[in-house]
């Protein structure tokens, strides 16, 4: 035990204890978990505050109330939520009593009584809030928002500089809190995809800024109830990427298709992480070597082996944002590029263009260092997992559509998707990281019916759902809406759905192939056709899931469900909307969209 104790010596020699006491305390505290230590801290604080000794087994007397802090998050992919939980943890250590609230569950009236508010908000698509946050966000922006006089606040916004409306939601919230009378405790930070390090710094600084001035009353205290509630968050996956082997790689589209959708099976050598149906897996892609070489050639840096490697695997060498242009001008002092910014035309110019266009259009002497400052780190790309561990063991299956298009006379390709489609074969290795999504989960009760809407690669999590429900022999019914371009050439996992219908893990499938007939047919049209049946399923307690395109499909599907309520139940548009909103708040209408 001696070495063990030594390793965990905690009590400093300067502490007002004798050596034996110190050793005893070290023995206890050194082996204690963070939870145990925190409990003791609170207990001792409460012990003194209550002024009377308690029976040893009883919990501490009411501890001194900690400083309340409400952390709101508006999350689509889970990043904001993770940060909110991180912040709560750190806040707790620093004497706050944090409360983490999802915008999806937020009653805005409750904000009026708050003392401190932190909002961590993601921006999606063309400057929109995450789907689940939309309702509360709109309420907050509307006339019914409460005054926030006397409230200290801070806003952390997440976004993607490759979109024009970068961090629009965070910016709007920041302005709104101020307009409602709040006091900004700390400056907003607008973070790009490489948010992790700056976010940690912002959280630390913001907590400092929100802390009350030191006084005799400011004793560290622990709210036992709050801790208990937070415990489940402590179980989280490793944040380090893992290396997996590709053991299956198939283009699911027929050779006659104009699409290319890759199914890959990845094997974790030391056991797959404990993923659940609904979770995503992040892939750390590499850039197209041809593009890397083109950039190196354009910048006269060909031959720099280390730089080439960095550009291949570490830097985002495609995205072109206003920030990129600014950094480029700063690095190169390029007059023409400066004019582009000054004339206000930069925003229009970058539309559809990539870094290579900038470098080629404005030739300048560029160093490896410049390239590093101009580009951002290459972000991982998350894909919804298309398998259940109960069926595939230590594998993870993904289904990835190769993104290829042309703009400004140049062929473009999605970094991660074409990395997988073109440059990965069976036996290749990939770096990946699990990205849980607890907002996209099968119902607790396997007897609950599920309705799944997943056109294209949006079908991925539903393959996982169906596998899972088959494995647990779930008695609930399952109804899938799938769509793509052509029945014959683009029916992803067709044979598997046929088997699932056969074995009962899928009850019904309705399909919408947009280009098989003169008029376009989409999943929302099939929903409309089956409105009566759909509402009957939902009335019977079914959960509804949508996965796939956020900009149009998910909205159209939601619209179709609202319309179904309206038509089938003869509701007013507002009442039908309320019915669907109620489903969302009951977590029976869940989305995983991108």
């Amino acid at each position: 035990m001696a070495p063990h104790m030594a390793r965990h010596a905690i009590i400093p020699r300067t502490a007002p204890f004798g050596d034996t006491e110190r050793a005893s305390l070290d023995a206890v505290l050194g082996a204690a978990s963070p939870i145990q230590r925190a409990w003791l801290a609170g207990f001792l604080a409460g012990l003194d505050a209550s002024g009377a000794p308690q029976a040893a087994a009883a919990p501490a007397a009411p501890p001194k109330a900690a400083e309340p802090l409400t952390i709101l998050f508006a999350s689509e992919s889970g990043n904001s939520e993770t940060l909110a939980n991180d912040m709560a943890k750190l806040a707790r250590k620093n004497g706050f009593k944090p409360k983490v609230v999802d915008f999806a569950d937020l009653e805005i009236a409750s904000l009026a009584g708050e003392k401190r508010i932190v909002a961590i908000a993601a921006t999606w698509g063309e400057g929109e809030p995450p789907a689940r946050a939309t309702r509360a966000y709109n309420e907050l922006m509307g006339d019914g928002a409460p005054r926030l006089d006397g409230v200290s606040f801070g806003v952390l916004s997440l976004g993607d500089t490759s979109y024009a409306e970068f961090c629009a939601i965070g910016k709007a919230l920041d302005a709104r809190f101020e307009a409602l009378g709040g006091t900004r405790a700390h400056e907003r930070a607008d973070l790009d995809l490489d948010f992790e390090t700056p976010a940690a710094a912002w959280i630390k600084d913001t907590l400092k800024a929100l802390a009350p001035p030191p006084s005799a009353d400011n004793v560290v205290a622990v709210d036992f109830a709050a801790r208990a509630a937070g415990d489940e968050d402590d179980v989280e996956p490793s944040r380090e990427p893992r290396v997996v082997e590709v053991i299956d790689h198939v283009n699911l589209n027929s050779s006659r298709s104009d699409k290319e959708t890759i199914h890959i099976a990845l094997e974790f050598e030391d056991g797959a992480p404990a993923y659940e149906p609904g979770d995503s897996l992040e892939i750390y892609p590499e850039n197209d070597p041809a593009l890397v070489d083109e950039i190196l050639a354009a910048t006269g840096l060909a031959g720099d082996v280390a730089l080439r490697q960095a550009l291949l695997a570490e830097r985002d060498i495609t995205t072109l944002s206003a920030t990129t242009v600014e950094r480029f001008v700063k690095a190169t002092g390029h007059g023409e590029a400066q004019k582009l910014i000054d004339s206000g035309e930069a925003k229009a110019w970058i539309e559809g263009r990539h870094l290579i266009d900038l470098i080629q259009s404005f030739p300048a002497a560029i160093t490896a260092e410049h390239l590093n400052t101009i580009t951002r780190p290459l972000p991982p790309r998350a894909y919804s997992i298309a398998s259940s561990r109960k069926e595939v063991g230590d594998e993870v299956h993904l289904v990835i559509a190769a993104v290829r298009y042309e703009t400004h006379g140049r062929a473009r390709s999605g970094v991660a998707s074409t990395h997988v489609a073109d440059r990965i074969k069976n036996g290749a290795k990939l770096r990946v990281k699990l990205k849980p999504n607890r907002h996209f989960r099968l119902p607790q009760d396997p007897a609950t019916d599920i309705i799944m809407v997943g056109p294209g690669t949006g079908v991925a999590p539903f393959r996982a759902f169906v596998q899972e429900r088959r494995a647990v022999e779930a008695p609930g019914r399952a109804w899938l809406f799938f769509g793509d371009r052509h029945f014959t050439h683009d029916f992803l996992y067709q044979l598997e759905w046929q088997e699932a219908l056969e074995d009962g893990s899928l009850t019904q499938i309705d399909v919408a192939f947009s280009r098989d007939q003169p008029e376009k047919i989409y999943v929302q049209d099939r929903i409309a056709q089956h409105a009566k049946e759909l509402v009957a399923w939902l009335d019977g307690g079914a959960s509804f899931y949508v996965c796939g395109d956020a900009t149009r499909m998910a909205k159209d599907v939601r619209g179709a469900v609202v319309k179904a309520y309206q038509d089938v139940k003869a509701l007013s548009p507002a009442d039908a909307e309320a019915a669907v909103a109620a489903l969302e708040r009951a977590h029976r209408y869940q989305q995983d969209v991108y």
Binding site: L252, Q494, Q517
Partner: protein
């Protein structure tokens, strides 16, 4: 022919009606298709439910048999079959839909509608078949009902275009003989109408028509066919000599117009028992040319047609499906007994056949003028595929569409997969000619090509063992060169290729018949008659594609050297002893092979 039939002994024909009770059918050991028909509720099966199974582009196996009666075949794209399972996709299923167009007559308005259906649902090509109708390929299940509704809107349908029923009735198109042609067309139309199945299943399933209450319970829903329809397919044609363009000897039932000196039809010779299909390696199956059985007066023709069909209905072999066609019935019971039964059902003795002469079974290309002053233009359509050919080829689809927009007459599909722009008034001829030129529709085709036919085969036909339509053009390139080298470029020789021995392009009565055996392998049949009245003989087995020309070139050389005036290629090969003459079906498999070297 006569010698052979009279010296044989025949079985005694059955006297009872076909079994239509499921249990009795099983007890009697009837073929599987008979059970399916009996259980189908007059061709309904589970088709309606099958259309609602959205996860598959197929239908059930039994429904796959029934859907033929509705004019469809379930097929799949065999070109991409190999990759499908790995991609977690089922076979690339689609449907072939065949129309019923008696006599092959289509109005311009119908043409435009059929063109639009092809463009919208069937890959942009109309295919004229070897039996005077159109078929569509590649219609996926989810588009079936739309396609059928669109066909229905043209006032055409697909009922009985396939299946064990009287199929599309062909009629001579020879428009120069206006009176005879009109009579032939009218007879074809009357037979088509009167022998059409009466079940409402087609309308009910494809057009969401009302289901007749208790439909399947009413015994008389199919007064002629009954629950079990015919033992096998039944094909009827009407010919007007001297043209045998309808290939009358290849059909179950035929009518040959007998004309008086003024060209008026005085009656019809009735032919029975022709058919092409056989199975490789099974000598109890064979192609057979029809017998000319009797002569009927115009007023008895329809009655005779029904009698022939119902005798086959009652006598046809329902236990062994491969021997179920009328040709085997006649071989089994004898022509005399068959004729006697037909006469009994018609209710009178029928005369012996009258003399007639056929000069060929091809089409007359180019313009002809009818005796009513109307003009007709026959266009060559390679393998019946009406499409816009690439690389400066004829723009048939677009060109015919333009013509249909201004044409005041009608269109006729021929049994040789060609198209006639018919009944053009004299004053419109120049306008039509200009369009024909503009779209390159009369680009010269060689004599060989003009006398060629190929079935669809790969990739859609499930029966194909080898390529046909996609391969014949390049084979003909080689053979044309060979023929030209012997000075035979203007000789008309019939050449037909099929991907399997079922014989859709009637290869066994072509002077050069090529029948698929396996990938790039064909049986080569020679010695058939130019007018389609005599079967060829197996000359060389399992010939590779590369060897076909090697076999034929020396024969062309010998023919060029030794032919007599007007002597046809098939006749020459028999006369000069290269191949045995086939009398008819029963000796088709005898004395095969080359009799001497053609070096």
């Amino acid at each position: 022919m006569a010698d052979k039939t009279t010296t044989r002994t025949y079985e005694t024909p059955p006297t009872d009606r076909p079994i239509s009770d499921a249990e009795a059918a099983r007890a009697a050991g009837l073929a599987a298709n008979e059970h399916i028909k009996i259980a189908s509720g007059y061709l309904r099966g589970t088709l309606a439910d099958g259309l609602l199974k959205h996860a598959t582009g197929a239908i059930s196996e039994d429904d796959g048999q029934l859907v033929k009666f509705h004019g469809m075949y379930l097929q799949d794209d065999r070109d991409i079959r190999a990759e499908r399972t790995k991609k977690k996709l089922e076979k690339a299923y689609s449907f072939m839909i065949r129309l019923r167009i008696a006599g092959g007559v289509v109005t311009p308005k119908q043409w435009l509608a059929l063109d639009e259906i092809a463009t919208t649902y069937a890959g942009g090509a109309l295919r004229a078949t070897t039996r005077q109708t159109f078929q569509y390929h590649g219609v996926i299940k989810s588009n079936l009902k739309r396609t059928m509704a669109a066909i229905d809107a043209t006032l055409l349908d697909t009922i009985a275009a396939c299946g064990d029923v009287n199929r599309n009735v062909m009629a001579a198109t020879n428009p120069a003989q206006t009176g005879a042609h009109k009579a032939a067309y009218q007879l074809a139309k009357d037979i088509s109408d009167s022998l059409l199945p009466k079940t409402s299943a087609w309308r009910e399933i494809w057009l969401d028509g009302e289901r007749v209450v208790g439909g399947e319970e009413v015994a008389e829903v199919e007064p002629v066919y009954g629950k079990t329809y015919l033992p096998r397919k039944f094909k009827t044609v009407v010919a007007v000599p001297p043209s045998n363009e309808v290939d009358i000897f290849a059909h179950d039932l035929g009518f040959i117009a007998i004309l008086d000196k003024k060209g008026k039809v005085t009656g019809w010779n009735v032919t029975v028992g022709g058919g092409m299909g056989m199975t490789h390696g099974e000598t109890d199956t064979f192609p057979r040319t029809a017998d000319v059985m009797c002569f009927v007066k115009p007023e008895d023709a329809l009655k005779a047609a029904e009698a022939v069909m119902t005798v086959q209905r009652d006598w046809g072999n329902r236990k062994v499906r491969k021997n179920a066609r009328l040709k085997y019935t006649i071989e089994r019971y004898g022509l005399a007994a068959f004729r006697a039964e037909v006469e009994k059902r018609v209710g009178k003795k029928l005369d012996d056949p009258k003399p007639f002469t056929f000069t060929g079974n091809g089409d007359r290309y180019g313009w002809t003028e009818g005796d009513d002053g109307r003009h007709h233009l026959t266009l060559y359509v390679a393998s019946g595929r009406i499409k816009d050919y690439p690389d400066g080829g004829p723009q048939l689809l677009t060109g015919l569409r333009r013509i249909a927009e201004v044409h005041q007459g009608d269109f006729r599909l021929t049994g040789n997969q060609n198209v006639i722009i018919a009944n053009v008034p004299a004053e419109k001829r120049a306008e039509i000619e200009a369009l024909v030129d503009q779209y390159g529709m009369m680009k010269g085709a060689s004599a060989l090509r003009r006398n060629s036919m190929a079935c669809v085969a790969l990739p859609t036909c499930g029966l194909a063992l080898a390529e046909s339509e996609r391969y014949l053009p390049s084979l003909m390139d080689e053979l044309e060169a060979s023929l030209a080298s012997h000075g035979l470029q203007d000789d008309e020789i019939t050449i037909r290729m099929t991907g399997c021995p079922n014989g859709c392009a009637r290869p066994f009565i072509a002077e050069i018949g090529l029948v698929g055996r396996g990938p790039e392998r064909y049986h080569l049949y020679l010695g058939a008659a130019f007018d389609g009245s005599r079967l060829g003989k197996l000359y060389a087995e399992d010939v590779t594609a590369a060897e076909i020309k090697t076999h034929l070139d020396p024969l062309f050389a010998a023919y060029a050297r030794n032919k007599q005036a007007g002597e046809r290629f098939g006749d020459y090969l028999i006369r000069d002893g290269y191949v045995t003459r086939t009398v008819n079906g029963p000796d088709f498999h005898d004395s095969t092979g080359a009799l001497k070297s053609a070096a």
